[in-house]
């Protein structure tokens, strides 16, 4: 089924409907071991090498809770301003699927470890939206299915499937928002900003790799619309496979325009799981949830309840790091940034990179000019995150130092950076290999100047007559001859000296 969805113009959507969001984020914790067994918790690896009877769900095997995962869950809950349960249990979520070894997922149901919190999210223009957190609960990840054959890579139409249980039992925290209403046309942006803020927070807590591309941070976006002026939530869809921050925004926006078109045509939104397609920016129908799946939750009898003492919770509260927004405030003061400058820095996702570059010796202004002004463009052009460009803060700091010492001009420095991005090695190696050192050897320069003057005798005559402005033409010729590796001011001084 490949029918093309009717979409409504976005402005019209906003005129006629109010969107309501619900975001479910799954975070893989980067604990040393899995949630319920001693297997290594590592991304990738030869298939089915990080497995044991417990995470394979072999008959007779039993789970034991990873204390470090509980600790991480509590810290996440505290950072999200949640209440921490005094007593809670795991539950079994029963459904059959080949990549789930026990055919039930050990999760939490009506007794989450953390609940009733909030996260303040700053939008691009500085507006702050408070997103309320329903709950954060612990669970285990499933294995991975690789569907071979068939056009879509999904289970339907596949010839056979391969199963890798390395991921089975990896600790997950699922963070669920309360319905986010009243954000109007900014709903897609709020969704992206929320996931961004959450990612930054989790990174600061050092509980997860938070790599959306590797699936250690996964977002399911629930979207519904209600006609303007009404207050009853509409039927929602849940969009999965949203693998980047940008996709979060696009997926929400797409669903809003699609649902609006359905509703405007007198149709009904089908409650279903939808699949986001990165290449088209559209969503397509997955499992229909019309007959709500009955997971037959019940308390996991193989695990004893978790009752974190208040002392422990307070101790963990004491381990919370400086939260990203607090840090930003401090940085703004220390670096004397305007609100707009800070916003640019944050929106570029460059706070950590700039700070590290400053730590490596550059000034905040120098570091920002590289990361925010220049490298952000490069990252956008390549469609990658700033941090994945392939250049480190230390390398940028060294390039800055080379400019300050006069060994590179700004133009040459950009070429060095281009070389580093192209994988040509350290900045010094690029300078060497590309022969980018500023030509400061006077005799070589004098020779180039003399040749240029000789080539344009009429211009030389004008300069000798005191028409100094005419020197520009000779400077251009010298720069061309030295392939831009000369300092233009120095060349100009030399020309004037030669002609006087």
């Amino acid at each position: 089924m490949t029918s093309v969805d009717e979409l409504m113009d976005y402005a019209e959507v906003i005129e006629r409907f109010d969107p309501v969001l619900g975001l479910e984020v799954h975070v893989e914790l980067h604990t040393n071991t899995k949630m319920f067994c001693g297997c290594a918790n590592l991304f990738g690896g030869e298939p089915n090498t990080h497995v044991c009877p417990t995470c394979l769900g072999l008959p007779g095997s039993l789970p034991v809770v990873n204390g470090k995962a509980v600790e991480s869950a509590i810290r996440i809950g505290l950072a999200l301003n949640c209440e921490i349960a005094e007593w809670c249990r795991f539950a079994r979520k029963n459904y059959f699927y080949p990549d789930m070894p026990k055919n039930f997922q050990t999760s939490q149901y009506d007794e989450p470890i953390a609940f009733n919190g909030w996260l303040d999210v700053t939008l691009d223009d500085g507006e702050v939206v408070r997103v309320e957190i329903e709950r954060a609960h612990m669970e285990e990840d499933t294995g991975k299915s690789l569907h071979v054959g068939g056009a879509t890579g999904r289970i339907h139409g596949a010839e056979h499937s391969l199963l890798d249980y390395n991921r089975a039992g990896v600790p997950l925290i699922e963070i669920v928002t309360k319905p986010i209403a009243g954000t109007g046309e900014r709903a897609p942006e709020v969704a992206r900003a929320y996931v961004t803020a959450l990612r930054d927070l989790l990174k600061a807590l050092d509980v997860s790799d938070v790599r959306m591309d590797q699936g250690s941070l996964r977002c399911d976006a629930n979207v519904s619309l209600m006609p303007k002026g009404t207050t009853e939530f509409g039927t929602r869809t849940e969009t999965k496979n949203v693998n980047s921050l940008r996709s979060v925004e696009r997926a929400v926006r797409f669903e809003m325009t699609r649902q609006a078109a359905v509703l405007a045509a007198g149709g009904k939104v089908v409650q279903e799981t939808r699949h986001f397609d990165e290449s088209t920016g559209s969503t397509s129908s997955g499992r229909t949830k019309e007959t709500a799946e009955d997971y037959r939750y019940f308390p996991e009898p193989d695990l004893v309840p978790i009752a974190p003492s208040r002392e422990w919770v307070e101790e963990l509260r004491g381990t919370l790091p400086e939260l990203p927004w607090e840090r930003r405030k401090r940085i703004q003061q220390e670096w004397s940034l305007t609100d707009a400058e800070l916003r640019d820095l944050v929106n570029a996702g460059a706070v950590d990179l700039v700070a590290a570059t400053v730590d490596a010796g550059a000034t905040p202004a120098e570091a920002r000019s590289w990361w925010v002004a220049y490298l952000t463009k490069e990252a956008n052009a390549r469609g990658v995150e700033l941090g994945e460009l392939g250049i480190t803060p230390a390398q940028i700091a060294r390039v800055v130092a080379l400019v300050n010492s006069g060994e590179l001009t700004n133009k040459l420095a950009r070429e060095v950076v281009t070389g580093v991005l192209a994988g040509e090695g350290e900045p010094e190696a690029v300078v060497e290999a590309r022969g980018l050192k500023v030509v400061s050897d006077d005799s070589a320069l004098e020779k180039a100047v003399d040749e240029a003057l000789a080539a344009q005798p009429d211009v030389a005559a004008k300069i000798r007559d005191g028409k100094v402005a005419a020197a520009g033409a000779i400077v251009g010729a010298v720069m061309k001859a030295t392939k831009g590796q000369a300092d233009a001011k120095k060349v100009r001084d030399l020309i004037i000296a030669r002609c006087s």
């Binding site: 009877p53 008959p59 007779g60 039993l62 034991v64 070894p101 055919n103 009955d294 019940f298 009898p301």
Partner: protein, 500 residues
């Protein structure tokens, strides 16, 4: 008949340790007996001749090398219920769905037995996934009661109890979810103990009902059961529900009890366990047992536990609910039977066909009941109510144990019934566990000790003794005193008509 096979475990251990007889000779005598009579009894699903002789030889070698015995049971043979994982030895749980599965790991109980130098002869027959009271639900044919081969040996651990009564092994391991150790013990004239929930590790015990299952010792004498109890009991970090406390001093209690003095011990007779459905000979045997306890100095009082009347229906909601989830993993994907995988069918169809072919009717019945009881909309009425009954039963026990040291009742309402007699009447079958289920629901320890033969049919009757959690020594003391006074029963089993 070799005298070795009629010896108690304690006697054999002493002779082996004193090098009067080798462990290999003892193992061989029992293997010979199995070869001789198991065609008629069908107690074993798998006899591990090679493994048993190798384990026995290791015991002999260690002793010859001057090492102290690994445990008070070193070299003694044992029959292991086929519900415990045994590395390299098939484990079927009496089900077709696990036919051919060879676990890659040992259950904790298995490991402790091996480390204690206990010689595992093989795996014993059982009702499929421990669901039943007669061992007729085994996919590999029923086990027969050595007292009368036309009768059931109890269940689900009929293979273990029959192997003791038939002198195929002096020790056995069972599991007790609703009476599966005690009821087989009662109807075969042997001793069976269900420890406190959490007293013996469940790691590697293929789960039927996780919150009720408990492994425990089976033997022909109280002291032998106590010796085995101390080998397998104790904390296991691989089982979250395992109690982190020392094993109660049951061997000392059995030795003390054998002096025959119960002065100062208060024994409560549960008034709920008599009347309709109880065989007259069983009640007479029970009354005689109570009179005997009084003679030994015990004080006898009547105790009412009104909630026990609801134990059976509550059990038949909780156990199937947990089973429906525990048995979901048998899906043909990773191990065991696979039906219909002809490359035209989906994984879902193969799962369905395999479960259809692989599970027997009683297992399917319980999966259906459990799935229904956990369904949304029915959960509160069924599973939820059953859990409330469970709390009430626990309170009845607490109240009773506030005034008495142990409680007593018949173990099972009737003597061994005929094979086939109740096969088509599940309710009649379930009633065999009427007296044993409350202790499972409360997690408290209970045991069955032979109380002679019923005067009307000459078949063994069991006396059930129940104690508070972790007070197993109380019931062992009473059982040993009673056994010393009235004598054991096992020696009176008729010679098996082997030619059958």
């Amino acid at each position: 008949m070799s005298s070795l096979i009629r010896s108690t475990a304690a006697e054999l251990a002493a002779k082996i340790a004193g090098r009067e007889v080798s462990a290999v000779e003892v193992a061989q005598a029992h293997l010979d007996r199995i070869a001789e009579v198991d065609g008629a009894v069908n107690a074993f699903l798998h006899v591990d001749t090679e493994g048993a002789l190798a384990a026995a030889k290791k015991v002999d070698d260690d002793l010859a090398a001057g090492q102290a015995p690994a445990s008070p049971l070193a070299g003694v043979p044992l029959a292991l219920k086929d519900v415990f994982a045994t590395e390299g030895v098939p484990t079927t749980c009496g089900s077709k769905i696990l036919e051919g599965w060879v676990p890659p790991y040992d259950a904790t109980v298995t490991r402790r037995l091996r480390e204690a130098g206990v010689v595992i002869l093989g795996k014993t027959n059982m009702d499929e996934f421990a669901m039943g009271s007669s061992t007729e639900n085994s996919a590999y044919g029923p086990t027969r009661n050595p007292w009368d081969l036309d009768r059931i040996p109890g269940g689900s651990g009929g293979g273990s109890s029959a192997s003791l009564a038939a002198f195929q092994a002096p020790l056995a391991i069972g599991t007790d979810t609703g009476g599966s150790i005690r009821q087989p013990g009662a109807v075969t004239g042997t001793v069976g103990v269900k420890p406190t929930y959490g007293g013996v590790s469940r790691y590697g015990l293929v789960a039927f009902s996780s919150s009720l299952d408990q492994g425990g010792p089976c033997a022909r004498t109280v002291l032998d059961a106590a010796l085995l109890h101390e080998v397998i009991g104790g904390h296991d970090p691989l089982d979250s529900t395992s109690i982190n406390a020392p094993v109660p001093p049951v061997v000392a209690a059995a030795r003390e009890g054998a002096n025959g003095d119960l002065t100062g011990v208060k024994v409560g007779v549960v008034t709920q366990f008599s009347g309709d459905g109880y065989q007259a000979g069983v009640l007479r045997s029970f009354e005689a047992a109570v009179a005997q306890l009084k003679q030994l100095g015990a004080e006898i009082v009547e105790v009412s536990c009104p909630s026990f009347d609801y134990a059976l229906p509550a059990y038949y909601l909780i156990a199937p609910s947990e089973a429906s989830s525990n048995l979901a993993r048998f899906d043909a994907m990773r191990y065991g039977l696979r039906v219909g995988d002809d490359s035209t069918r989906s994984a879902e169809e193969v799962m369905s066909l395999t479960r259809e072919a692989g599970f027997g009717p009683e297992v399917k019945r319980r999966i259906m009941i459990g799935t229904y009881a956990l369904s949304s909309g029915y959960y509160d009425a069924y599973y939820g109510s059953a859990q409330k009954v469970r709390t009430l039963i626990t309170r009845d026990f607490e109240k009773a144990f506030a005034s008495v040291d142990v409680l007593v009742s018949p173990t099972t309402p009737t003597t061994a019934f005929r094979i086939g007699e109740r096969a088509n009447d599940p309710i009649a079958m379930y009633k065999a566990d009427l007296c044993t289920i409350p202790a499972n629901l409360a997690g408290t320890p209970a045991m069955s000790v032979p109380s002679g033969l019923s005067d009307e049919d000459g078949l063994p009757v069991g006396l059930q003794i129940m104690a508070p959690a972790l007070q197993e020594h109380r019931m062992y003391r009473v059982a040993a005193a009673y056994e010393a006074a009235r004598g054991t029963v096992y020696q009176d089993v008729p010679e098996l008509a082997v030619a059958r």
